[in-house]
Symmetry: C2
Subunit: 204 residues, 2 copies
């Protein structure tokens, strides 16, 4: 007899799919906070699983290891940034506006607590620049190159190899986000970025 769910016993039957999702979410979520607060090297797996209320066995069942869990965190953050930017991108009146708007959307997205550290410090250090670039491209972080290509095609940018230029500009964006995150004057950095963009584009 014994119905599979009496009012007192609550021995609820949980499907594997949701179980897995809950555990993975708990791990990624707990890991994100700890990695963001203390960094990758200074955060141990015992601490992570304790915060997530699971065991280390669960962690190693769902992820190949600590680094793989970190990668999942980074991918989620990169995804969130890409979504925030593409959501806020409207019809740009010009290449200049597109770049400025994109920069501001980027800074806003990067202002989420801990995100700058995760994506710009621990990410590259732990996964390497190569894999970070792969993740960025996979989540859709090619706006900068597109913006510069648009500008070049419309005569607003002298014909130069735009990929190195986009790379350098991207580095400046990252540094600005980091500086703002570190408490520097946000307006000063946004202005400086705008200045760089304007300088690079031809005057009309």
């Amino acid at each position: 007899m014994a119905a599979s769910g009496s009012a007192t016993e609550q021995k609820q039957r949980i499907p594997n799919a949701t179980r897995t999702e809950r555990t993975r979410t708990a791990l990624v979520s707990a890991a994100r906070e700890l990695f963001a607060a203390k960094g990758f090297a200074e955060t141990g797996t015992p601490e992570i699983v304790k915060a997530a209320r699971v065991t280390r066995g669960a962690l190693y069942h769902h992820f190949e290891g600590k680094t793989a869990l970190f990668r999942a965190v980074i991918e989620a953050e990169a995804e969130a940034v890409a979504r925030a930017i593409e959501t806020r991108t409207t019809e740009p009146a010009s290449a200049r506006d597109a770049l400025i708007d994109g920069a501001n959307a980027f800074f806003d997205a990067m202002s989420v607590s801990g995100r700058a550290r995760l994506l710009l410090i621990d990410g590259p250090a732990t996964l390497g620049h190569e894999e970070m670039n792969r993740i960025d491209r996979a989540t859709g972080g090619a706006e900068l190159i597109e913006g510069l290509a648009y500008a070049r095609d419309h005569g607003e940018l002298r014909d130069l190899p735009i990929e190195p230029l986009a790379d350098l500009l991207s580095a400046a964006f990252d540094r600005a986000a980091l500086a703002i995150d570190a408490g520097e004057d946000a307006e000063a950095y946004r202005t400086a970025i705008a200045r760089m963009i304007d300088a690079l584009l031809e005057r009309h």
Copy 2:
């Protein structure tokens, strides 16, 4: 009796000062190569002392720990870069030339094997940006700000907060050095940097 150094015994008497210097040099030198090749986290102290032909006891006698040894490596590298740049700096004909020359000297100095990784990846990740800035300033890495200040004072740069601008430009320099180190087209990046500098300066 027994002369303190027979021809066969060679029981040479070594003063503590030189002994210390030899050991420290051997440690810093061995650590530099290993950190440069495999990174800070992937290099263990047993491996370092083996390469340096000393024991871990010696390491912990001369340095507070693995991180302190790494810091010594980084300081030496930063010092070397600063020296290389200041040595090559001649009388600049203009702010533009000074910045371009400085950039090229920087890229040349950063092309020393392993240096880009040490100073631009593992350094910031292990010691933090704040301490890296401290080290840069201590070794004399203020050329960029000086160059921009000179340009502003001579009307070649619109009056804007130059510190954020110098910071962003410095980030671009770093990224370029990293890209070149990773095997990207060095000329393309040098050109892109020159383009950025020219763009930022007023046309004459």
